[in-house]
């Protein structure tokens, strides 16, 4: 189910010069803001939780998910190089699983690690906040990777649709309309952060931790499975159909 060559091609394409700047920009910004906040406000649990939720989980994590998830497959479909993977005695699910693992790995590294660091910079992991947010980011990144990888196989406008979803649904609707929160990857990830973080630190989620984890797993598995199906019927002339 895992092909190291597919993974290597995906990884090298994903961390190509331009994209690696995109991927590291937001985490660097988070660390800079964290350092500034610590220097001006000092260590404060509520401020830490606010910043890591608002900028981290609601903005940085979905955006990096879009870049890593769509970037793992959409460019190859766009320029036709995916044909070199398809014209091999390889099962389609193997291609998807290998790509998904790379997308997950890359997005976890570029979200969970900076979140952990930012947490320590902000309040020294007081109330387990740094760990809580790192875990939430890692879990949300898994689901985002699958979701946006699927999007990359379904539409040529994966990046735009992904950005609209990340910015409008997750960041705006999810934080304003209560009902929409239940259907938000961000909230599912936060459900675990709420569980790990100490009480009274201001971390909250609209769903319970069990429901959150179950929904994350379901979305990841369904996304990967459906992407594998799309790849089976992918053809160089799909646009003409």
């Amino acid at each position: 189910m895992f092909d190291p060559t597919v993974a290597r091609l995906t990884y090298r394409g994903l961390l190509g010069r331009r994209r690696v700047f995109l991927l590291s920009g937001l985490p660097l910004l988070l660390l800079v803001i964290a350092a500034l906040v610590r220097a001006t406000v000092g260590a404060d649990d509520a401020v830490t939780a606010n910043l890591l939720t608002g900028f981290g989980v609601a903005t940085m994590v979905p955006l990096i998910g879009v870049i890593a998830g769509t970037g793992a497959i959409a460019p190859e479909i766009e320029d036709g190089s995916v044909l070199y993977l398809l014209a091999k005695p390889l099962k389609r699910p193997t291609i998807i699983v290998s790509k998904l693992i790379v997308a997950i790995g890359v997005s976890v590294v570029f979200t969970a690690v900076p979140m952990l660091l930012a947490g320590f910079v902000l309040n020294g992991n007081s109330g387990q906040l740094a760990v809580a947010f790192a875990v939430a980011s890692a879990l949300a990144s898994v689901a985002y990777s699958a979701l946006f990888l699927l999007l990359g196989t379904v539409t040529r406008h994966a990046v735009v649709i992904g950005l609209v979803y990340a910015l409008i649904w997750e960041a705006l609707v999810g934080s304003v309309v209560p009902g929409a929160r239940v259907l938000s990857v961000q909230q599912w990830g936060l459900s675990l952060a709420e569980r790990i973080a100490a009480d009274g630190t201001g971390v909250s989620s609209s769903v319970g931790p069990v429901a959150g984890v179950v929904l994350l797993v379901v979305v990841t598995v369904l996304g990967g499975w459906f992407a594998g199906r799309k790849l089976r019927t992918l053809s160089p002339q799909a646009g003409e159909a």
């Binding site: 090298r12 014209a87 019927t233 002339q237």
Partner: protein, 305 residues
């Protein structure tokens, strides 16, 4: 010995029929798939390559369907027309990745062999993004040959190549054919196909128009009635002289154009007779132009034949 068998294959996209009930076999040796742009050559190759399901009919490789059959790729090599090919890799890395994806026992040695076959070892450590069109095409070839397939499919391989690169690739494909591999390439240029292919399949407007060796196809193409537009200082006298000869089947005097529209049945004889007759009668020729030499009309004649 591997044979690709296309049986009553059709493919439509919505209301548009791209390939219409095509049946032929591709046997060992070099086969040219000839047809004008938009005739359905790529759709047909994509069906042969297992990238498109036939809407009707079947495409089989030694009896096994190629659609949804990943194992077929162990015997198939493919040179797509699309340019995308992991430009951030070097030529060597690209071919090696293809060898690994095929699960070859010794991908390194196979890569070395394939790059030597296409004569690209000198540039194998450069990034593909720095390659010229011809070099890209050769590395694509190497990636398609790395697992020594018995069937090689090439979609418009000569597009954009300079004459020297074209000769080199033709020589390579000829060798493949002589080794007993089944090689099929598509082209919209008759001369390319004629120089290389021992066998030709002609596709026009999605239909299988002709099949055979290039001499037969060439004869079909040159023997068809040719139309000419001729202007001279005495059109009527020229018309009278020409219609008396067996090389023409009809002449119309176009008053608006002040010219003759001539239908010639024997192309070779007509081109010899026209200047001779004019000279004998002291008629000056102002214009002699073929009016239907477009590839499109040559092909549509073949379909009607």
């Amino acid at each position: 010995m591997t044979t690709l068998h296309i049986e009553g294959a059709s493919r439509w996209f919505g209301n548009v029929v791209a390939v219409n009930d095509v049946t032929f076999d591709v046997s060992p040796g070099v086969t040219g798939l000839l047809g004008p742009n938009g005739a359905g050559k790529s759709t047909l190759i994509n069906m042969m390559a297992g990238f498109l399901a036939p809407s009707n009919g079947s495409v089989t490789l030694d009896g096994a369907a190629v659609w949804r059959n990943e194992q077929a790729y162990s015997h198939l090599g493919l040179v797509p027309e699309a340019e995308g090919m992991y430009d951030f890799l070097t030529g060597q890395e690209f071919v090696l990745a293809n060898a690994e994806l095929h699960g070859l026992a010794d991908p390194g040695a196979a890569t070395h062999r394939a790059l030597a076959t296409v004569d690209m070892e000198h540039a194998q450590d450069r990034r593909i993004s720095t390659y010229s069109k011809g070099m890209r095409q050769r590395v694509k070839m190497a990636s398609a040959l790395v697992h020594e397939p018995s069937v090689l499919l090439l979609d418009e391989p000569f597009n954009g190549m300079d004459p020297r690169q074209r000769m080199h690739l033709m020589e390579l494909l000829r060798q493949m054919g002589e080794q007993g591999r089944t090689v099929l390439f598509s082209s919209h240029i008759l001369e390319e196909v004629e120089q290389l292919a021992s066998h030709i399949e002609v596709i026009v407007a999605g239909r299988h128009a002709a099949s055979g060796d290039f001499r037969r196809i060439r004869r079909l193409m040159t023997d068809r009635p040719h139309r000419y537009l001729v202007r001279s200082d005495d059109n009527r006298a020229l018309a009278a002289a020409l219609i008396a000869d067996a090389c023409t089947s009809g002449i119309e005097f176009d008053e608006a154009e002040n010219a003759l529209r001539i239908q010639a049945v024997d192309f070779g004889r007509f081109t010899a007779v026209l200047p001779k007759l004019a000279a004998e009668r002291g008629i000056r020729l102002h214009t002699v132009s073929p009016s239907d030499e477009s590839l499109e009309s040559v092909f549509s004649y073949l379909v009607a034949a």
